[in-house]
Every structure is written in C-alpha cells, then in structure tokens.
C-alpha cells in the first residue's frame, strides 16, 4: 500500500516546510510569544480542565500500582519511536538502550506493564521528533499553548505531528491489531498523566497556581525545562548571574 505512506511523507514534508517558514525569535529574546492572545485562551481552557480533573487535590486518587503499570506500558509502547528518533539524532548509545529496553520489557515485563530493564541497569532516553528537529538545527520557533496538550513550541508541535505520522507501530498489520495497540497506548498515557498530575500536585501548586500570572509562569517553566532537557547545562550559560558582581543591580 504505497499510497498512504506517500501521502504521509508529503504532509510531513509540507509540515517541515511550514515550520522552516515560521517566525524565528528576534536575537536576544528569551521568550518569543507572538500568539499570546490565542495561547492565553487555550491556557484558560486548560486551567478549567485541570481543575475538573485534579479538583482541589483532596479527592480520591488512582491507586499507585495502576498508574505505575499504565506509565510503564505507555513508555514502553513509545520504545520503537524513541529508538527511531535516537537513530535520527545520531545517538547510537541511546538507540541501543531504547531498543534493548523495549525488547526486555515487552517480553519479561509482560507487554511492558512492568519495567524490568531499569533494575537490570538497561538505560535508555525517552525522546521525540521535536528533539530530533533540534539536533538537526531547527530553531524553537514561537511558544504555543495547545488546548488539551499544554505548552509547546512551533518546533515541538511539528515534532508531535511527525511522531504520530511516522510511529513504527503504524506499520503493524493487521490494521485492527495496530488500532487496538494505539488505543491502549493512548488510554494508558492518559492514566499515567493523572498519576503524574498527582505526583507534581505540590510543585504545580507552589510554582504555578500560587503565581500572580499562571500563564507567564507556565510558559517560563516549560521553556526552561525543555531547553535544559535539550541542551543540558549549556542552556543555562546565558543566564549565569553573579549577585556579588559590584557592577550589576
């Protein structure tokens, strides 16, 4: 069936072309947010949704074994995609680690419900096509907050779309098996996210909810953590500031 994949390739290439054409940040600007009005609307929607889901944080939470198994399954189901992206990033160590983890956890970890690889010392690195684009030299683009999906950048959103279109699981046949697997992954990811929300409840409350402008705070935290994830300590180099320096105030 060459037609759908050719179509996918075309749409991805078009997506990349659109990305290359999209708003580069002016030099020296830390936060580039030309679509702020739209983003704030999405943020208001996400905040309402978060209040519905997380409530006041005192409601009954999902049992830990369930959220852990769901997270294990969803992470493991991302293994082939992680492996492919590691290869595209030219990181063979990560690619081998991700592939090994996928094999060990899919077999001995009963389809990925248990993470056997970590205690065995088999380490990988979860990644995405947004990171691959970064490695290839594509700039971050403008900041975005997407309804449901949360904070992103133009580059990360393009990466998300490519990850969906080019997931190695898409090649699975029969189609009914592939669809069931993709549904299972989406469901477990949702449950895992609820567990994450509970884990970070204190941090989110302290750093975002208690802030006078939760939109600006979310934006800053996302960009800081994402840049640190992609560039490590090099991401911090521009921000080094010595409070003992007598010439600054």
């Amino acid at each position: 069936m060459p037609r759908p994949s050719a179509l996918r390739l075309l749409s991805a290439v078009l997506g990349l072309a659109a990305l290359a054409a999209c708003s580069p940040a002016p030099p020296g600007v830390d936060v580039w947010d030309p679509q702020e009005a739209q983003n704030r609307e999405a943020h208001a929607f996400n905040q309402r949704l978060d209040r519905v889901i997380a409530g006041s944080g005192t409601g009954p939470s999902l049992p830990a074994p369930l959220t852990v198994a769901a997270a294990n399954f969803a992470n493991n189901a991302g293994g082939p995609s992680d492996t492919l992206n590691s290869v595209l990033q030219g990181r063979p160590g990560d690619a081998i680690g991700n592939a090994l983890r996928f094999m060990v956890n899919t077999t001995f970890g009963i389809g990925g419900l248990f993470d056997i690889a970590t205690p065995l010392g088999v380490e990988g690195r979860r990644t995405d096509f947004g990171e691959t684009l970064h490695v290839w030299g594509v700039r971050e683009g403008a900041y975005q907050e997407l309804p449901l999906l949360g904070p992103s950048t133009e580059r990360d959103t393009a990466g998300l779309i490519v990850d969906l279109l080019f997931d190695p699981f898409n090649a699975l046949r029969p189609v009914s098996t592939r669809n069931r697997l993709i549904l299972a992954r989406a469901t477990t990811r949702g449950i895992a996210n609820l567990g994450e929300r509970a884990t970070y409840a204190e941090a989110i409350d302290a750093l975002i909810t208690a802030s006078p402008d939760s939109y600006a705070r979310t934006r800053l935290l996302y960009l800081q953590t994402r840049r640190f994830r992609l560039d490590g300590e090099a991401a911090l180099a521009d921000d080094v500031f010595d409070p003992f320096d007598p010439y600054v105030d």
Binding site: P65, E202, A210, D213, L221, F228, D239, V240, F241, D249
Partner: protein, 211 residues
C-alpha cells in the same frame, strides 16, 4: 575593594609594617577569590547529604519544608539573595527592614521550592556529579534519584551555584531540571512589590501567606 592609601614619605618603619599587614589582611578578607572550587564542592556534598537525610526522614511535606528552611539558613547566602531579588528597592531599605525581609523571604522560598523539591517524593538520594565554572560562578551539578509517593522512580538534575566572590562558601541559586530559582525570583519579587505600590513593609507582612 579597599586599597592601602599611598604611604606618607616620613612614615616610621613600624607603622609602615603595621599598615602593610592591615592592607594585606583587607586584601585577603576582601571579596576576591574567597571561595575555591574545592570549597564549593564540599559545600554541595554536605548539602546533598542533608537533603538526602530530609527526603528519607519519613516526615510530612510540611515537616520537610521546615527542615528545608533550616538548610537555606545554614547553606544559602540568604542576605545576598534577598537583596538581589529586591533590586534597587534594597538600597532604600533600612538594615532592620532588610533583616525582616530576609527572614520572611527565607520562609517563602522554603515553602515554594521545598514543596517542589520534596512534595511528590518519599525517598531518594542526592549526589554531586560534577563542577564547572562560568566567570566568577561555580555550578555544582547533582543528580537526585527520587522515589515517588505515587510509585516509580525519577531523576532530577539539580545545579547549585556559588560565587567565588562570596565571603564564605554558600550557594545563591538552585536550578531544578532547568527551573532557575534565582531567575524566576528576580522577576517575581519586583512584581509582588509593584502589586503593593513598592511598599516593602506590606510585602514583608504578606509573605507568610504566600508561596
């Protein structure tokens, strides 16, 4: 930095020696190169051991936050952090006002970042992994392997920054997975002040209810 004044020609030898000694002492005690790389690393080694003890103490989040405030008191350069986040307002404040702000602000920082650091976890280990230098600032990297209250493990990268100009080894910044405390606070505190029309006393009074 104070420099010895030019010597009067007829200065007696003994006074000359005393003055030189005093000048040298000023130089040694001055801000130049006061903290060495080894001292910065030792500081964070002790800090990491202390944080590991707290996260494994089995206490509630509120108790851990209380202990974290003690850590800030002993390991962080609180007066310098407080002055720096206030910006130009610090220069108009009286020393007594600055002291009260520093104490209130320490509690606020402890609640805010203590909850972010300990809130989701009930055990773990923090270890120093390396040290780098950028201008006058040492960045000591540490890795926290934390176990989540909700199950599973997680890695946090925490970087501690220490200025070599500091008179004693104390940190002025922590960066958790890229989240830069000092950069955030230098934006947030002026915003909090502005919301109170620059009234520092009102901010000091309000801080215990914030964070």
């Amino acid at each position: 930095m104070t420099r010895p004044a030019p010597l009067p020609v007829e200065m007696p030898r003994r006074r000359f020696l005393a003055a030189s000694a005093a000048g040298l002492a000023t130089l040694w005690a001055g801000p130049a190169a006061a903290v060495t790389e080894a001292q910065a690393r030792t500081l964070v080694d002790r800090l990491a051991a202390e944080l590991t003890r707290i996260v494994n103490s089995g206490g509630s989040v509120a108790q851990m936050v209380g202990q974290f405030e003690g850590v800030l008191d002993r390991f962080a350069d609180m007066p310098v952090i407080a002055r720096s986040v206030l910006g130009p307002v610090a220069r108009q404040a009286s020393p007594a006002q600055l002291n009260r702000f520093t104490v209130a602000y320490r509690g606020y920082l402890a609640r805010r970042y203590g909850r972010a650091l300990f809130g989701g976890y009930d055990g773990g280990e923090i270890r120093v992994t390396g040290i780098s230098r950028s201008g006058t600032v040492f960045s000591v990297a540490s890795v926290a392997q934390m176990s989540r209250r909700a199950g599973g493990r997680e890695r946090l990268d925490v970087i501690w920054q220490i200025s070599e100009r500091s008179p004693e080894p104390r940190f002025f910044n922590m960066i958790i997975d890229g989240v830069n405390l000092f950069a955030i606070e230098r934006e947030e505190v002026p915003a909090l002040l502005e919301a109170r029309r620059g009234d520092l006393d009102r901010l000091i009074a309000d801080l215990p209810g914030l964070g």
